[in-house]
């Protein structure tokens, strides 16, 4: 995407070298020689790291696992809105991949996948290739910048952030809020669903309001929602806005932002132009780019259809997709990605051992949202496999918090600790 002229020159220089040595015509070497049964996992987020760990754990280390990840560290997106509110720093959310290597013997390859060959069961990276028996793709989401005129990746990195993957943009957004004058406007634009983390934008509105309340009480939070109504935990978020931040948060439904002006930080909706001091635009989302490489995104060209007993792709046998990239009536959350990853890990082991996978997968999801410095609300559901629908369907009895509470604020922190440990340690 950010393929520069310099990279191009390097690549073509490499091409000439390959041309000169026909023996290297396949352009790459096998990065780690495949000996026994091997699973390659692409993407070390909540889904991918969990799948990698649990395949090792549940196969008694019999199956070799190679995990490909481009980032040097794991940064948790869940709870990263609290960096904006001031409750956490990005370092609090950053963890190393070392234990996955040391404790589970997972082979970590730092890099980016450039191509997938489902027939040859090979993934290509810039510096070589890897062979697999089964491939698990956990690519998260990518942003459809072309749906918002004026927006692109470099604008997002320096000016109109999305901060919808925790990291540098999260830190930048916090700095923008700190630099904003009191009496200014923070505007967040929410795309039509499905998008990653349904309650996340409303939690973010709370965290920014929490920061304003303490530091810039004359400022405003404006929510431009492309959806016709608040997507998740509506009553709880509205109560938080009205009771904790009266007069500060304004919610506008059916406000689809189709264009931005970068210089004036203006967002254009069908009805009006909204000028903000800090503008935060979540572009529409789709399965991460790796999914495109093997044509896995077969639903609307955006999401990946899978078999819910195994998470095997509907497009290619032997390739599994988990997490936000999956097309399903399931929330795109960290907990959900880990739950899917475990069903997938168990099924992959069974399939590789010639056995039948669990025919009745039942998984849980909970999303905690911090509505102030120390209070949280949640939504929780159990999902069961429905044979007629061949889909995961919410069981009776799920729901949201009775009210926001400090007790749940504490539980949200414990949840973060336990889930990060479950994924990485």
């Amino acid at each position: 995407m950010s393929f520069s002229r310099r990279d191009f020159l390097k690549a073509s220089a490499a091409g000439i070298v390959i041309g000169a040595f026909p023996g290297l015509a396949f352009a790459s070497s096998e990065l780690i020689k495949k000996k026994g049964q091997r699973v390659v996992v692409v993407g070390g987020g909540f889904g991918g790291a969990t799948a990698a760990k649990y395949i090792r754990k549940w196969s008694n280390n019999k199956i070799e696992v190679v995990l490909i990840e481009r980032n040097p560290m794991f940064i948790s997106c869940p709870m990263s809105n609290t960096v904006l509110g001031g409750g956490r720093t990005i370092d609090d959310l950053t963890m190393s991949y070392d234990e996955l290597k040391k404790k589970y013997g997972i082979k970590l390859v730092k890099g980016e996948v450039t191509a997938i060959d489902p027939e040859k069961q090979t993934v290509m990276l810039a510096n070589g290739h890897l062979k697999y028996d089964r491939l698990i793709v956990s690519p998260g989401v990518d942003f459809m910048y072309d749906k918002v005129e004026g927006l692109n990746e470099s604008v997002a990195n320096i000016s109109i952030t999305h901060a919808w993957k925790a990291g540098a943009q999260t830190v930048l957004l916090r700095k923008q809020l700190e630099a904003m004058p009191d009496g200014g406007v923070f505007a967040i634009s929410i795309p039509k669903g499905p998008y990653r983390c349904p309650p996340g934008p409303y939690e973010r509105a709370c965290q920014v309001a929490h920061y304003f309340k303490q530091n810039k009480p004359k400022s405003k939070v404006l929510i431009l929602d492309a959806n016709p109504d608040i997507v998740s935990k509506k009553g709880l978020f509205m109560a938080a806005w009205n009771e904790l931040y009266p007069g500060m948060v304004e919610y506008r439904p059916n406000a689809l932002v189709s264009k931005v002006d970068v210089a004036s930080k203006t967002a254009k909706t069908e009805f009006d132009d909204v000028k903000a001091d800090v503008l935060n635009v979540l572009p529409p989302m789709k399965a991460g780019a790796v999914a495109d490489m093997a044509g896995l995104a077969n639903v609307d060209g955006r999401w990946c259809g899978v078999d819910f007993l195994t998470y095997e792709s509907k497009v290619h046998k032997g390739i599994h997709v988990i997490g936000d990239a999956v097309s399903a009536a399931l929330p795109k959350s960290g907990h959900m990605a880990t739950s899917q990853a475990k069903v997938c890990a168990a099924a992959v082991i069974e399939l590789m051992q010639g056995k039948q996978p669990d025919q009745n997968p039942t998984i849980a999801n909970t999303c905690y949202s911090m509505v102030s410095g120390n209070e949280a609300v949640h939504v929780a559901n159990v999902y069961r496999f429905n044979v007629e629908k061949q889909a995961m369907v919410a069981a009776e009895g799920g729901g949201v918090s009775a009210k926001r509470s400090e007790l749940e604020g504490a539980f949200a922190g414990y949840w973060l600790k336990n889930i990060l440990n479950d994924v990485l340690l």
Partner: protein, 101 residues
């Protein structure tokens, strides 16, 4: 041959409970979704209750009380309602067999 057969028998006796717990992969898979809050194999490190090594009867009773509302909860009533009584037994078998760290 004789040696390995003896070993097998001894191992079989030693790891009887562990092996049984391992056999029910469906129980293990069900329990795996709980670990986001209760830690891997129920070994919570934060302030969430530890489930590893919990007494079976106590475990099942807690789940039933969450479902009926007899035990007030922030979130467990909603999770408990998603599972059947038979699944409570499976989950109790699994967690009671896990070592506490």
């Amino acid at each position: 041959m004789i040696m390995s057969r003896t070993l097998l028998v001894v191992f079989g006796m030693l790891f009887c409970t562990a092996a049984q717990a391992e056999v029910d992969k469906h129980a293990r898979n069900l329990a795996a979704s709980c670990s986001a809050c209760h830690g891997t194999d129920g070994n919570s490190e934060g302030g969430m209750p530890v489930l590893a090594g919990l007494d079976k009867a106590l475990f099942v009773n807690q789940m039933k009380d969450f479902k009926s509302g007899a035990r007030p909860a922030t979130v467990m009533h909603q999770h408990a309602k998603g599972y059947t009584d038979e699944e409570y037994e499976l989950l109790a078998d699994f967690f009671s067999a896990q070592k506490r760290h």
